[in-house]
């Protein structure tokens, strides 16, 4: 295993990822280049609660509320789900379907697809919601981009910060809130503006 084979593999991966982007949207008008400050620059291998693999960049095109969690968390994580429900409900009815929600687990060892599915049902997550798992290293990278802090304790529980990020249609962080169990007016305002701007 030499440095050069690893580098080449990394380069190939990068090229493949780049090549994948235009193909996805080739039928429509070619998409504008992804902004450098978009978190969709990261390409973690994600799987949703139905076991389907998907690309982070596939969320491009609408605002997305995103947060990280782990399923066995009993205290704060349910409040994150609840807060996002409240935020979506605070939108005018026609706008509620124009928002997506992405919840990524930082506990891939325990949050299997089946567990994600249960969690989605327990929190009444409809088709707007994607609960996802990825590998540990990718979860750490995504957390770093989102500014989420977490740390596994010896007990298997986690210490973690709890924030909800609003991504714009290109995956840039447009707003962030640490308010739980209530709708953050600033985040809601940005979300409304983001929807209005897209007509």
């Amino acid at each position: 295993m030499t440095t050069s084979t690893l580098s080449r593999r990394a380069a190939l991966g990068w090229l493949a990822a780049l090549a994948g982007t235009p193909i996805a949207a080739a039928a429509a008008t070619p998409p504008a280049e992804l902004p450098g400050n978009s978190i969709y620059q990261l390409r973690p291998p994600l799987t949703d609660q139905d076991g389907r693999p998907f690309e982070l960049g596939s969320l491009r095109g609408q605002p997305v509320l995103v947060s990280m969690f782990y399923s066995s968390c009993e205290m704060v994580c349910p409040m994150i789900f609840e807060t996002i429900h409240q935020t979506v409900q605070a939108l005018p009815a026609p706008d509620r379907d124009r928002v997506r929600v992405l919840m990524v687990s930082f506990d891939p060892a325990r949050d299997s697809v089946a567990v994600l599915k249960q969690t989605a049902q327990a929190h009444r997550c409809d088709s707007r919601w994607t609960l996802a798992r990825t590998d540990e290293a990718s979860a750490r990278k995504l957390a770093a981009l989102l500014g989420v802090q977490y740390r596994r304790l010896a007990s298997g529980e986690f210490n973690h910060s709890s924030t909800i990020e609003l991504l714009d249609a290109d995956g840039r962080i447009a707003a962030r809130t640490g308010t739980l169990a209530a709708v953050d007016p600033a985040l809601l305002k940005t979300l409304r503006q983001s929807l209005a701007a897209r007509g």
Partner: protein, 273 residues
């Protein structure tokens, strides 16, 4: 003959993995000089248990650590082989505007003499990508703290006030115009430059958050955290280490600073990663 060089007190398993590691190194080429660390029970300044105020010793698995921080010369070779990490090409989300700002260009160091100095102005993402290219990863905070607890003669010199003062004196020194070349005196494990030259990224830099004040325990503030709540520092005398934690905790993953570099770690062969 790597086993012969290992300290006599190492457990047999560590000697075995050290030998395996040395075989691996032969194929890894120059610039990737790692040393095996035996791991074991370690008491971190960060509480590891469910009770934030009590320390629980943790078991650190044997691992290998780069003897020296990654140099600018080594990082140059990396960006030449991986142009997506050149400063003109890297997406802003992975590295801020100061990334490699001291270089003359995307593929030229500040001056030829810079090649043996530690690379700085690198983001966590860039450091991770570099370590990937070396078949390695960034060390965890615990691995770094454990390796850095040693002085030249002792594996854990932390209780020695004189040693603490030596490290603190580095922080009190004004920033030198130029960083020294890598290759300072080896510590008891054979690892160099953990103190005295640059700060270093760790893989879990964004997992070290600290409550500034123990009175916040039990406050509504702890609602921000699942599980045991925020971290309190157990050993408040370890200022030097606490400064590291404070610095790392204040950073974002795309941030770069002129005195923050990194080194890589990797599992020993035959052990889980």
């Amino acid at each position: 003959m790597p086993a012969r060089n290992a300290p006599m007190t190492w457990p047999r398993r560590a000697l075995g993995v050290a030998a395996l590691l040395a075989c691996g190194l032969a194929a890894a080429g120059p610039g990737a000089d790692y040393v095996a660390l035996p791991g074991g029970r370690f008491e971190s300044v960060l509480p590891q248990g469910n009770v934030p105020s009590a320390t629980v010793p943790v078991d650190i698995a044997p691992f290998a650590l780069r003897k020296t921080p990654v140099t600018a010369g080594e990082f140059l070779a990396f960006v030449q082989a991986n142009p997506q990490w050149q400063r003109e090409r890297v997406p802003a989300v992975f590295a801020d505007k100061r990334y490699l700002i001291d270089w003359r260009s995307g593929t030229q160091l500040a001056d030829p003499g810079a090649s043996s100095r530690p690379v700085t102005n690198v983001s966590w993402f860039a450091a991770k990508a570099y370590c990937d290219s070396e078949g390695a990863r960034l060390p965890t905070w615990l691995e770094w703290e454990y390796a850095a607890a040693a002085d030249e003669a002792r594996r854990d010199a932390r209780a020695d006030p004189q040693w603490r003062r030596r490290i603190l004196s580095w922080y009190e020194r004004p920033n030198a115009a130029l960083l020294p070349d890598v290759g300072g005196a080896p510590n008891a494990y054979g690892v160099r430059d953990l103190h005295g030259t640059v700060w270093e990224w760790v893989d879990d830099f964004n997992a070290l958050f600290i409550a500034g004040d123990s009175r916040t325990q039990g406050d509504p503030d702890t609602l921000k955290f699942c599980g045991a709540g925020a971290i309190n520092i157990v050993d408040r005398d370890s200022y030097a280490v606490l400064m590291r934690i404070a610095l790392l905790s204040s950073l974002g993953a795309a941030d770069t600073t002129s005195n923050l570099g990194f080194r890589c770690a990797r599992p020993l062969e035959g052990t889980p990663p």
